[in-house]
């Protein structure tokens, strides 16, 4: 009986863990992390009057409206508006609604301040999207129905702030009126609206706030014209800049009489040259002018008298005025001094003295200050304290109070342009033994807790402890390379020109650098970040060197603008080298070649289609010249509907210092522009590894995959149907999918989808293409798969040929050869619109593939490639079933458990990047948009490692129990034997 009891106990202890690709809720955060961002802040409105939660409501360049906790910078709520729905202005009304004006002044929405629920939405009829202004009257009594005024185009709308109903609407002028300034004198029902008609006429309107009646209107034209900027100096004086931006024009409009006064800026500021900008500000009698080298504060004494108060040297920033009382306003001036920032607050009543003067230490990688928003609070001694919200050049957001940075947000990460990965350094020898021994007990304790958890015996406290142990797992955040290749650095390039390295373990920023060449400078006025590539990946020869990445940018948005190169160390962010190129950058081709220091060779194609080789060393030229006959490239000219293939040649003598190669056109494909326009091109990833060349199908048959790195997928649509869904009828829409060999220019396959249109997303991998488009006939989204097989190797199956030696197995495979290919394809419905499409990659390409679909709901869905197998049929045969072919259904299944983002959203999803881990079963997935999300997935489950869930304690316990049972049974049997012997 004792044995049985013992065994019973053991059985109870033994527990199974169901293996699944999906996630349990308590596994969230083990292998994944999610970071929420908002983007570069454009406007900020503080909400600090009431006791309780202090907030700041911001709108950003990523079209996000968000409410942030002023104490910590955390997001209370956030909404990402549509791509074309740019936010013009944001404000708070009635103390409880956030009002946003967007889409060129045509949409006004109100959001509930505590939870972000939309309260109302109003559509305004605006003749043409133009600069628009939102005017929410200040000092309102809550309860009274307040009006919100919207000035946009040539009309004024007044809306009730409680329900968004339009109370009145007034058309001011039929011409191109642009309202510049709106203000309402205290305790008055009259709104002053000042603006320009065309470029030379100034106009002032006095409008009744309650009824919209235009009480007075006065116009006057100014012969040298305005540049369209104006700043309100006092209740009856506006200062504008003339068209040449060298004269200040002060405009007085008292009682409807308009007077102009010109003041040459150089007369005021002798060192002025170039062009001035007016800083938007609303001070009593003060004007801020940006004159390139500094900001000048001017006092407006009368209509024609301006006086310099202070000159603030660049780089610096100045905030809007913050009214403290009826007479007094405060504003903040922030000025850079190398790594420090001087923060000053002044009252407009006393400009010579500072109310507050603080110095803050600032991380040098944030660049200059771009915007400042000031807010005040009451100190305990009833004086005013001030805090400022600062937007930096790298788009980060900081809150400064009492001389220190209270919190900071790295919001540049909301606008990632490109990303790559880098390995971490190899672990050094000499790990201390004591540490291991100490952690052994902890380790056991942890596992015992986990065991309790899996047996559902743990108390809530213990469950929390388990979760904490799991999340802070020291292993995954180490700064060294791990055996499985899970720990890596994700190196991202943001639109601000900042490069950041994120650790895959927890997503923290390991280093960041604001690239000096990608900052605005005199030589490069409008730099533009493009891509990031692996520059040096040391393996054998240069092991002591750190890997580095190449960051590519461009001076300005035109294709002919000079390019920018910067080489950054991947371990510490040090900039090794940066240069502004003499030529433009159109394409960059990383070549699968390295020089003796393991720097990857790159070909840069400039706007004249000349090829430049980098790195510019004689060593790399030598290596390149050997391989040059094998290098082919193509260019897609979307506007002209042409795809051209080129090789490279040397015309005349090669200039070793320049390394410029000329293109030689080999082929071109011209699409008939009356019936087709190029919508999308896609290629295979350069570094993808294919494990098996053949596919064994049912009946022991073999199909050879057509594996070529030169496949280009091109999708063209009907010109009429190149717009959004809903703009074309099924009859006038079609889509052609092409597979083109980029070496020979041969069209391998062409298929048409009648009644289909874009947006198209495609992914090419191994020998297949999957693309997503919209089927207008069924009015559903569709996904198609094309698989290409090599027919010329089909003969090799013939045993007799093999025996007789007539096979072509040993024949070299050449890109010039034109093998017979066969194509299989199939289409399926897919429910959602797609934002991004990617495929998993693994180290050796053995693991089966999953498609990663970024849906319109900003989630990432993992879909097994087996669902997109053209050999699926309604009734698969027995052998096909054994092979794993899924019976055909008309639509692809969406299993909620296979969302890799589980219950999270990657707001504003733009890209999904996959990187293989060292462990064959696992792929690292990084998706970015406004948010970032990272996880690792195993498309065929983790067949080559134990899961995180695996309970070592359980294993140990089982073994101990087994040994104990063994000993007990042995002792019993001995006893029995003895008894038998005595008998």
């Amino acid at each position: 009986m004792a044995i049985r009891a013992c065994l019973g106990l053991m059985i109870l202890l033994v527990f199974s863990s169901t293996i699944s690709t999906a996630l349990f809720e308590d596994q969230v955060g083990l292998a994944d992390w999610h970071q929420k961002y908002i983007g570069k802040v454009k406007h900020a409105i503080f909400h600090t009057q009431k006791t309780g939660r202090k907030r700041v409501v911001v709108s950003t360049e990523e079209n996000v409206v968000a409410s942030l906790d002023l104490r910590t910078g955390d997001i209370f709520w956030r909404h990402v508006l549509g791509k074309i729905d740019r936010i013009d202005q944001v404000d708070i009304t009635l103390g409880k609604y956030v009002v946003t004006l967007s889409s060129g002044g045509s949409i006004l929405r109100a959001w509930n301040l505590p939870d972000g629920q939309m309260i109302w939405e109003s559509i305004l009829q605006v003749s043409a999207p133009s600069k628009s202004l939102l005017h929410v009257p200040a000092n309102m009594n809550v309860g009274k129905d307040n009006l919100i005024l919207v000035f946009g185009g040539s009309s004024i709308h007044a809306l009730s702030s409680t329900d968004g109903q339009i109370v009145w609407r007034k058309e001011l002028s039929t011409n191109s009126l642009e309202i510049q300034q709106v203000f309402q004198p205290h305790d008055s029902d009259i709104i002053y609206a000042l603006g320009f008609i065309g470029s030379s006429e100034f106009v002032a309107y006095y409008v009744n706030y309650k009824t919209g009646e235009v009480l007075q209107q006065s116009k006057a034209s100014f012969k040298s014209g305005f540049c369209g900027e104006a700043s309100l100096a006092s209740d009856d004086v506006v200062v504008a800049l003339d068209a040449s931006r060298t004269y200040l024009v002060s405009i007085s409009f008292r009682n409807g009489v308009i007077n102009f006064q010109q003041i040459y800026i150089r007369d005021l500021i002798p060192e002025f040259s170039g062009k001035a900008t007016l800083l938007p500000s609303k001070y009593n009698g003060i004007l801020a002018v940006d004159i390139a080298s500094s900001i000048v504060l001017l006092r407006v004494k009368g209509v024609n008298e301006l006086e310099i108060i202070e000159k603030i040297n660049y780089p610096s920033a100045i905030s809007d005025a913050l009214p403290l009382s009826k007479e007094q306003q405060a504003f903040a001036i922030l000025q850079h001094d190398e790594s420090r920032i001087h923060f000053k607050v002044k009252f407009d009543t006393d400009l010579t003295n500072e109310v507050l003067k603080e110095t803050i230490q600032m991380d040098g990688q944030r660049g200059n200050i771009e915007k400042v928003f000031i807010n005040n609070y009451m100190r305990t001694d009833r004086t005013h304290g001030f805090r400022v919200l600062v937007v930096m050049e790298d788009h980060s957001l900081l809150l400064v109070q009492q001389g220190e940075i209270v919190w900071s947000r790295e919001d540049g990460l909301a606008s990632i342009v490109d990303s790559t990965t880098s390995e971490l350094p190899v672990e050094k020898e000499g790990v201390s033994v004591a540490e291991v021994e100490h952690s052994l007990f902890e380790w056991l304790k942890g596992h015992f807790l986990k065991l309790k958890g899996t047996l559902m015996l743990a108390s809530p406290d213990e469950v929390a402890a388990i979760q904490a142990i799991r999340l802070k797992s020291f292993e995954k955040n180490k700064m060294t390379r791990d055996h499985n290749g899970f720990r890596k650095l994700i190196i991202v390039l943001t639109r601000a020109g900042k490069v950041l390295a994120l650790h895959t373990g927890d997503g923290r920023v390991v280093w960041s650098v604001l690239l000096p060449v990608l900052r605005k400078s005199e030589t490069c006025g409008n730099p533009f970040a493009l891509n990031v590539y692996q520059w040096q990946v040391p393996h054998h020869h240069a092991m002591h060197e750190n890997p580095s990445v190449l960051v590519v940018g461009r001076c300005g948005h035109n294709f002919d603008a000079p390019g920018i190169f910067s080489i950054v160390d991947a371990y510490n962010g040090k900039v090794h080298n940066s240069l502004v190129l003499e030529h433009s950058v159109r394409h960059i081709m990383p070549l699968p070649l390295t020089d003796s220091t393991e720097q990857n060779l790159h070909i840069v194609i400039d706007d004249n289609l000349h090829a430049h080789l980098y790195p510019k060393t004689s060593d790399s030229v030598k290596i390149f010249l050997d391989e040059m006959p094998n290098i082919y490239w193509y260019s897609v000219e979307v506007g002209k509907n042409i795809i051209k293939g080129y090789s490279l040649e040397i015309k005349g003598e090669l200039d070793m210092a320049e390394n410029v190669f000329q293109p030689k056109e080999l082929w071109s494909i011209v699409f008939p522009s009356e019936s087709e326009t190029i919508a999308l091109t896609a290629t295979r990833k350069m570094n993808e590894i294919v494990h098996t060349q053949a596919k064994i199908v049912a009946d022991q048959d073999v199909m050879y995959k057509y594996i070529s790195t030169n496949i280009l997928f091109v999708a063209t649509v009907a010109p009429k149907a190149s717009g959004e869904i809903g703009s074309a009828t099924p009859e006038e829409a079609w889509l052609y999918a092409y597979l083109i060999d980029t070496v020979s220019g041969r069209i391998l396959h062409r298929v048409s989808h009648q009644g289909a249109q874009g947006p198209i997303h495609a992914v090419v991998s191994e020998n297949w293409v999957v693309y997503h488009y919209f089927n207008l006939r069924a009015h559903r989204h569709e996904m198609s798969v094309i698989e290409i097989y090599d027919q010329s190797r089909e003969d090799n199956k013939d045993v007799w040929k093999l025996v007789l030696g007539k096979h072509n197995l040993t024949a070299p495979i050449s890109s010039y050869s034109k093998p017979e290919v066969t194509v299989k394809s199939q289409s399926y419905f897919f429910t959602h619109s797609v934002k991004s499409l990617a495929v998993t990659v693994t180290a050796k390409g053995i693991t089966s593939k999953q498609l990663l679909i970024g849906t319109i709901g900003d989630q990432v869905l993992a879909l097994d490639k087996r669902f997109l197998d053209p050999r699926r049929s309604v009734n698969p045969t027995q052998s096909e079933k054994e092979e794993g072919i899924i019976p055909l259904t008309d639509s692809l299944p969406i299993v909620p458990q296979s969302y890799v983002t589980h219950a999270l959203q990657v707001e504003g999803l733009r890209g999904i990047v996959t990187t293989p881990a060292k462990l064959e079963s696992t792929t690292l997935v990084f998706s970015y948009g406004v948010d970032l999300f990272f996880t690792r997935i195993a498309p065929s489950r983790t067949y080559d490692s134990l899961t995180e869930d695996f309970s070592y304690a359980l294993l140990l316990l089982t073994i101990v129990a087994l040994v104990a049972a063994l000993l007990v049974t042995w002792a019993l049997s001995e006893k029995k034997e003895l008894r038998e012997k005595w008998r």
Partner: protein, 211 residues
Amino acid sequence: MRSSAALFNPSPPLLLLLPLLLFSHLLPRALAADLGSGDGYTIAGRVKLDGATSKESGLPAKPTNIKVILNGGQSISFARADGYFSFHNVPAGTHLIEVAALGYFFSPVRVDISARNPGKIQAALTENRRVLYELILEPLREEQYYEKREPFSIMSLMKSPMGLMMGFMLLVMFVMPKLMENIDPEEMRRAQEDMRAQGVPSLSSLLPRSN
């Protein structure tokens, strides 16, 4: 009047509040053509989530971030607290509306706005081709993003590798002796001697003898 829900109508937003669907074909053609900036219609509807409380998915019971997406992102609208949403200045044609609400699966909706019959609008779910008479969008199902932890059960235990190991052990322990009993003791001894002769170490020889 709001409770009359979902309707489509030509552009002036004021008309939104009338139950227009039934009478929409009666609307004079001029109404749509003249009013507003003249470039389109208004699609208004409601996202209905009541009855569906997603307690198990761990999400807040009332999501405040329900997005309604027209034509794959051409324009995005947000649902109000009562679920109402609207799109303005939509041209005549066939459009697609999708709802993004975390925790729920919505079918996209096909919306036809007739150009010949202003105001005549039809809607149907694309997933199951169900025709909607009012534009009330309800989730087809709730989505559970997490696998559920199975409570402790004997079956799952049996299926696990360790369970199988245990099962085999039990088999050996209880069934083997039964088999052994049937073997003739003489034969048994012979077999044991054979084994010893072959030098196969048995467990009993490894353990220290107590007697």
